[in-house]
Structure formats: C-alpha cells, structure tokens
C-alpha cells in the first residue's frame, strides 16, 4: 500500500511523515515519531489514554487517522511543559498524588487542559463529567478531581 505524505504541526514544530492510509494518529505518534506519551489502552475510543488535542479539540488519537492530521495543529503530552517548567496541571497532579501507575496520566492531563481551556472555573460535577471519557483504574478519581480543582484555581490566578 502506498503511503500518504502528511505535513502537520505537532507541539508547535513542523513535522512531515509518511503513513499508511489506515494507520491511526496514535500509531503514527508512537511508532513513527517516537512520541510514546499517548498510550493505547483500548484502541476503540473507550479509555482516553491516547487523548491529544487537534485544532483545539480533544480527540482520541486511536480514532483519528494519521492522514487526517494534514495541515492541523496537534498537541500531545510531550508539549505540555515549557522546557523544565511544568504546566500547573502537571504540578498539581504531582502534589496531589493524582497518579499511581501513571498510565492514564497523559490522557487525563490533556483532557483536563482542554476542559479548563473551555471552562476555567468548573464545579466538581463539571470536572467529573468533563473527564468521564478517561479511565483510571488506580486512583478512584478522588485525587485527580482535587488536582484539577487546585490547578484551575492556580491558573485563574
């Protein structure tokens, strides 16, 4: 099968790659570009571990084709910190121990970032529903919700 040439922007950098027409964005990120921060928990859009932001929209990268990234802006977990300065969400996840095994963490951070971009002052219920597309099996979500609440208040200043 002939590859598709794709030109896109990932975490602010211009990136070009060849991928198969049926290859998912998640496969491209992980297997072609070495960006393994997005995880495959299911491959069917049910766990959110593969969450990335494409043109300001939160998506499951396992449900997006690599070819669809053409001309778009893709944000992944690898682009969340600025150099060694963590994003407030990353910092608060650490402080609140909002991760145990951490496999869900990249997806939660991306989803929470998207949530706070759209709703800077969410209620607990809005956080819970806003993050309902991401599965965590370790934490029971309690500390994740608290970390997001805390980060939101820091980000509001």
């Amino acid at each position: 099968m002939a590859g598709v040439a794709v030109s896109t922007t990932i975490n602010g950098d211009h990136v070009e790659y060849l991928c198969q027409p049926d290859e998912t964005l998640l496969e491209v990120l992980r297997d072609r570009l070495g960006l393994t921060g997005a995880k495959e928990g299911c491959g069917t859009g049910d766990c959110g571990a593969c969450s990335v932001i494409v043109d300001n929209r939160l998506v499951c990268s396992c449900l997006v084709l690599g070819a669809e990234a053409e001309g778009r802006q893709v944000e992944t977990i690898e682009g969340m910190a600025h150099g060694d300065r963590l994003h407030p969400l990353q910092q608060k996840f650490l402080e609140h121990a909002a991760l145990q095994c951490g496999i869900c963490t990249p997806g939660f951070l991306i989803a929470a970032k998207d949530l706070l971009a759209k709703n800077p002052d969410p209620t607990e219920e809005e956080i819970r529903f806003g993050l309902a597309g991401n599965l965590c099996r370790c934490t029971g979500y309690d500390k994740i919700v608290r970390a997001v609440q805390d980060a939101a208040s820091v980000m509001r200043g």
């Binding site: 992980r30 963590l86 963490t105 934490t139 029971g140």
Partner: protein, 766 residues
C-alpha cells in the same frame, strides 16, 4: 538473618511525610516508559492467533501459507514450545495456557503466533493459519460445571481432598476445609439462624495498560525481556524453564507498569514472544489488544457461595458455615481455598467450618485480583451478618463489634491473632459522622468489614552510597503505586538524611538477587524491611570509616541523625562527621560504601478494613448512584499517607465497579460477549463521589517501623457494603453481584409479587 525485625519505639522524621514521588516528573511529561513504549533495532511485530471456541480439540494446524507470506519471519505453535516442565503440574498449566497443546479450553486461548515485519503483515498471516478444530461441548457457568454430567474439561482432574479418591474425573479440582469447634452443636445453641446463597460474576482487574513485552533471544542463547510485570524474577524463572534456558541467561527488565492488581503476576504471552524471537532470530514486540486482555489474561473467579450463621438472642454468634465454589478457568486453582480461609476471618467464633471447591470452567485461567477471593466471600458473609443483626434486633455495627476477632482470637483459618485492627476500625466507623448523616427516600446506608492476610516473602535490596553522599537504593519489588517514594523515605529515615538525597530504582533481574513479586501487599512491607536492614549494614560501615578517619575504635562511634559521633568525653574535640563527609573519603578508607540485605520478610501483619457506603436506587429503572463512601483501614505505620489513601480509594473504586456493574458475559456459544471497555464498563469519574479515608495506625509488631501492607484490603468490603446499602434502600436482600439495574429491578419485582401472593394466600412462616 543478622537483623532484628521487631518493632522499636521511635519517632519519625521522614516516614509519615508526603513528598513528591521520584518517578513523578517522567509520568506527568509522558517520558515514563511502559511495556509498549520500548523498541529494539530490527524488532518484529508479534501477534497471537486465538481460539474462537470455548472447548475444542485441535486436530491440526497448517501454518504453510502464513509462513510463505512475504514479511513473515516466524510462525510458532505448541510444537515450538515443547513440554520441559518435568512433571510440574502448575508449570504445565502455565505452558498450556500460553499456547494450547491438544485442546483449546476457552474462547481466546492462544493456538499459534507469528512474527512479521509490521502489524499489518502479522494480522494477514494470522488469517492464513488453518486450524482444524473438533468442537466439544463446553461449560462456562460455575454452578453448571459443578454438576454431575457437565461437559468434562480436563480428563486428568480427579477431585483432591475427598475422603475417598474418586474413580471418575470431574470439573472439581479440589475440596478444602477450614475451621474449628462443632458447628452442629453451635447451631443447636442458636436462637436465630440465617441461611442464604449468593453469586458473584467474574470480573477483570481492568488495568489500563495491556500486557506488552519485547523479547530478544540471541544465537548464543542469551536473552532479554522487557515487560510490564509485577514480578520480573518470577517471569524470568517461568520463561527460562519453559524455554529450557538457564535463568541467569535471561535478563528481565520490568518497565513502568500501567496497573496490575494481580493480573500481571502470570506469564501469558512472554514465553510466546521469546519463542518467536528464538525462531526468527530477531527481537519481537508483542502487545495484547484490549480484546485479548479480556479474553485471554486472568480475570478473577465467578463464585457461588452458601452461608449459614446462627446467633443467640444476646447477639453472640454460635456457629458459622460457608460452602464456596470458585471458578478457576480450565486449570487447577486455589481460589476457593483462599475464599474459605478469609470468609470468617473478621470474627471470634467457637464453631466455624468453611469448605471450598475449585471448579473448572471454559473461561480464561483465573489470576489474582487484589486480595484474591476475599471480596466474594466477604460479600456473602457480611450480607448474612447484616441480616442476622436485624433478626437479633441489634445495630449492624454493634453486632459486629460484639463478635469481632481480637488479639488472641484463633482465626477461622488457623493462626492466633496478635494485635489487630478489626475492633478499632469498627469503633471508628461507629463514631464516624458519616453514620449519623441523614438519608432521603430511596437511599440506603450499608457497612461491611474485610480482611486480608498480607504477605512478606523473599526480598533483597542494595543500598549504595556515592562519593558525593547521595544514596541509590536498588529494589526488586516492582513499584505499582508509589513504593519508590515510600522506600526512599524509609532509607532516609534509617540513615538520618534527607529524602531528596535518596534515589530508589527498580533493578533488573541481572542486577539484584531474587525477589518475589509485588503481590500480597508486600511491596512496601517487605522491601522496607530489607531497606532498613541494608541501611543498618551501611551504617555499620559508615561508623567504621569514621573511626578510621578519627583513628579511634569503631565501638566508640555511634550513628545519629545522619552523622557519626565519637562517644565519650575523651573525644570532646571531634566534631561529628556527616554521611557526606565520610562518603567523600571512601576512596582512601576502604572503597565504596554500601549496605546489602537479603531476607525473607516474615510477619506481614494481617489487615482489616471497615467501609461505609450510601446508595440511592431509582425504583423505576433499578439504576444506582453512590452518594457517599468512607474507608477506614489499619495501615500499621503509614509511610507515605497520601499513597496509602490512594490505595484505599483505588480499591474502593474497583469494588464499587464490581458491586454495581462489571461482569464477564458469556453467550450460549461460550464466547465472551463484552471484551471491551464499552461493554465491560468500569467506573468513570462521573460515577463516583469523593472517597473519604481514615487511616488507623496499629503498629505491626513484626516490623521495625510497624508497617503493614495496605494495597489489597480496600477491595474486600465494598461488595458487601454496597449490597447492604442497596438492600437497606429497597428493602430486599440482594444476593447476586453485580447489582446491575436489571438485577435490582428483578429483585424488586420478585419481592412485590411475593408480597402479593402472601397477601392473597396468607403469610406462611418459613
């Protein structure tokens, strides 16, 4: 062992604080490498062909077409993993489960595997493998499999533990019995007796990271395995034995692990990946899909349990009996036995008997799931206890307090307890504001207790002090939830230095001695014991070096707060030497400074928890909502309280999912119908409230700091606590888990129609 593990009285500086974990930054930046995040040069993609049948003879496998496909580098079947198990039955079962030999025993059972240059080629190759199956009758239900005349799964299984050895094979692998006293006498003394039967469905640990590994076997017989596992040393042992290699030639590196909860204690695909690599002569990466994880890793047992408990009018339990049937998948197991041991462990009983039956079914091989087997037994027992309290006319908490096990009680499974936490957790629950909070219509409150043994086991650590005074701690227990942080705290505590000065890592199997896996809540308990021992050994060296630097006898040097002190007035002019100062001179005082420890961590203190739960039930739909949840559990000493809370919350959340939603659903064809997160629904953020925790610290006398394991007990009470809450909300005893909306509705309807027929025919007393 030149080490005294007994509890010492001390105040803590580092232990009990809540620093940020050492592996944290990598995990929030996407840098941490999990099972599937690792690659090797020239690596192939491995894929496994799985049986679509629940039970079938494999008459033949034709791999010729697959082998001929361009890009395919190896195809293997059971013939490529010959039986080297030498009569070790348990290992043979592991081998057969990795790749079926004569029969496929469940939907999803591996029958062949390929390694190809990419995923697409590998997938195509699987389609070209022709398997000639002779489909056999199957049985997936635990009660059906228990019956005479059920399809026989393994002709070699003759029930063990019966008085007479059976003449015919059956699906019951083993009968076990625990208890003491005379239950017949006990029941005859009872004023009230409750007898009930319960069922729980099979659930999965549901870790978010699928099994993944990269295997590389070289032509000189050396091999490497990168894998997400709870036990790299156990994986090494099993893989080496199954492949016929020496253990020392196989180096296993555990990746960061994306959840395990017992499910990553078994080899599933790793021997297959190694065999593929051996045949192809190239590294092979094998990652399970989510569908494969559900169909072919190791979920927990489905169970069917009968309980009978009797009590006197004053609330004293006089006798208790349980019969527990647990599914094991198609192989021998010990799951019902563990259930039989834990069932009544919370109570002080004169007359008790529990009997377990291990039942074979055409489902995947059962694996451990967090406090394996205990939640189901607790569900059945704690539901009956609640009902009995009602009959006696006592409050559910008071009834339990009256009968709770204490120090000196002989446990129903044999040993006599030391200081334990069941009474204190019950008292804490009794006084908890949650118990007093008002409830509205259709809401109910339930509480329940849970027990877990905890485990210690073989452990070793290396503690190396660098010339700059920084400390690296190499441990062999995989960090599943923050143990690198807690063990760094312990090392800092014992050495008297700052947490930031210690860096803990999980060593690979070639760099450290054997360690049992991270299970049985042993990670922090056992590795902290070994860390304390290693630190004490290092302190001995540090004192000797200081003595050398001062030119005084080592016996005159003591270690305090991270410094060597010369003891006695004659040394008044010697100012203390810090660890850093001693380390800096190590090159001239005898070389590197280190402390090592190899031990069997005995004395893991048993653990108890009591949970409270409020539930709202919609009587129209049967839908439920958890309104409030409180966990009270004894931790021994909580090393890093935030991560202890995390264990409590995580276990409770898994229990909530199990109680209300999660179950394996098999069709009549014996195939799993819901092998994905869409249809096997684990709790999401919007399903749960905050989960409150209360940590009790009743020191474990067998650990220098009083630490107990904390990881597992939190999943034991939820099934029962929630069932009691639902039962209290709707006024009907719930006996089948999960309490999904259709099941709650059915229970409500059954009780309404029973009430109707009662009102027509008059009430009969049972």
């Amino acid at each position: 062992m030149n080490f005294d593990p007994r509890l010492t009285n001390r105040s803590f500086t580092s232990v009990g604080t809540r620093p940020i974990r050492p592996d944290g930054i990598d995990k929030v930046t996407g840098r941490a490498r999990y099972g599937a995040d690792f690659n090797m040069a020239g690596q192939l993609v491995g894929r496994v062909l799985r049986s679509p049948h629940a039970h079938a003879v494999i008459r033949g496998i034709d791999t010729a077409k697959a082998e001929a496909l361009p890009g395919v580098k190896a195809v293997i079947t059971a013939a490529d993993l010959p039986d080297l198990t030498n009569g070790d039955g348990a290992l043979y079962d592991i081998l057969d489960n990795c790749i079926a030999r004569k029969k496929a025993l469940y939907d999803g059972h591996a029958v062949a595997a390929v390694a190809a240059i990419d995923a697409r080629t590998a997938r195509q190759a699987l389609k070209l493998i022709e398997v000639d199956y002779e489909v056999l009758p199957h049985v997936t239900d635990v009660d059906e499999a228990f019956q005479h005349g059920a399809p026989l799964i393994n002709e070699a299984i003759f029930t063990e533990g019966l008085e007479e050895k059976p003449v015919k094979p059956s699906n019951v692998h083993k009968r076990t019995q625990y208890g003491h006293g005379d239950i017949h006498k006990g029941f005859s003394e009872a004023d009230f007796v409750i007898e009930r039967s319960f069922r729980t469905e099979q659930t999965h640990q549901g870790y978010i990271e699928p099994h993944a590994c990269v295997a590389s076997v070289s032509s000189d017989g050396m091999a490497e395995l990168w894998v997400c596992t709870q036990g790299p040393f156990v994986y090494r042992q099993h893989c080496a034995q199954l492949l016929g290699m020496e253990a020392s030639k196989l180096r296993v590196t555990s990746s960061e692990i994306g959840g395990g909860f017992g499910g990553k204690t078994h080899v599933w695909a790793e021997p297959v990946a190694l065999a593929l690599s051996r045949k192809a002569g190239r590294p092979v990466k094998l990652v399970m899909t989510r569908d494969e994880v559900f169909r072919a890793s190791g979920p927990t047992s489905a169970t069917s349990i009968d309980i009978k408990i009797g009590a006197r009018k004053d609330g004293t339990i006089t006798a208790a009996e349980a019969t527990l049937r647990y599914s094991c998948g198609p192989y021998a197991g010990m799951w019902a036995e563990v259930g039989a041991m834990t069932a009544f462990a919370c109570y002080r009983l004169d007359n008790v008997r529990t009997v377990g039956f291990e039942v074979l079914v055409n489902r995947p091989k059962t694996a451990a799931y967090r406090a394996p087997s205990a939640p189901m037994a607790a569900f059945a027992v704690e539901s009956t206890i609640d009902e009995l309290a009602g009959k006696v006319g006592m409050d559910a908490v008071d009834f339990r307090i009256k009968n709770a096990a204490q120090e000196g009680t002989r446990a129903s499974y044999g040993p006599v307890y030391g200081p334990i936490g069941i009474g204190p957790t019950l008292e804490a629950v009794k006084n908890h504001p949650h118990m007093q909070a008002p409830l509205k219509k259709n809401q109910g409150r339930g509480m329940a207790c849970g027990f877990w043994f905890n485990f210690g086991g073989q452990t070793c650590v290396d503690l190396n002090i660098g010339m700059d005074g920084s400390v690296s701690l190499a441990v062999g227990t995989v960090d599943v939830g923050g143990s690198r942080a807690s063990l760094s705290l312990v090392a800092a505590e014992e050495l008297g230095i700052d947490y930031a000065q210690v860096k803990a890592i999980v060593a690979d199997t070639s760099s450290l001695g054997y360690n049992d896996m991270t299970d049985g809540s042993r990670g922090t308990f056992s590795s902290s014991m070994a860390t304390i021992s290693a630190a004490r050994n290092a302190i001995k060296v540090l004192r000797e070096r200081a003595a050398q630097m001062w030119d005084i006898p080592a016996d005159d040097v003591v270690w305090e707060k991270g410094h060597a002190l010369a003891k006695g007035e004659k040394y008044g002019n010697l100012s203390p030497l810090s660890l850093k100062e001693i380390a800096a001179q190590s090159g001239t005082t005898g070389g590197p400074i280190a402390g090592h420890s190899e031990l069997v961590a005995d004395g893991a203190g048993v653990s108890f928890a009591t949970h409270i739960c409020d539930i709202e039930v919609d009587p129209e739909t049967g839908a439920t909502r958890v309104l409030r949840y409180t966990v009270v559990q004894d931790a021994g000493k909580a090393v890093h309280p935030t991560y202890v809370e995390g264990q409590y919350q995580g276990g409770a959340a898994q229990g909530i999912g199990w109680a209300l939603n999660e179950e394996y659903i098999y069709g009549k064809d014996g195939r799993l119908q819901n092998a994905g997160f869409l249809d096997y629904r684990i709790p999401v953020c919007s399903d749960l409230p905050m989960i409150d925790t209360q940590i009790l610290e009743i020191p474990n006398p067998n650990h220098p700091y009083g630490i107990r394991g904390v990881g597992e007990t939190s999943i034991v009470p939820p099934l029962a606590a929630i069932a009691n809450a639902v039962s209290n909300a709707v006024g009907v005893r719930m006996t089948h888990i999960p309490m999904s909306p259709p099941r709650i509705l059915a229970a409500l309807e059954a009780s309404t129609s029973a009430q109707k027929s009662e009102s027509i025919f008059g009430k009969h007393d049972a």
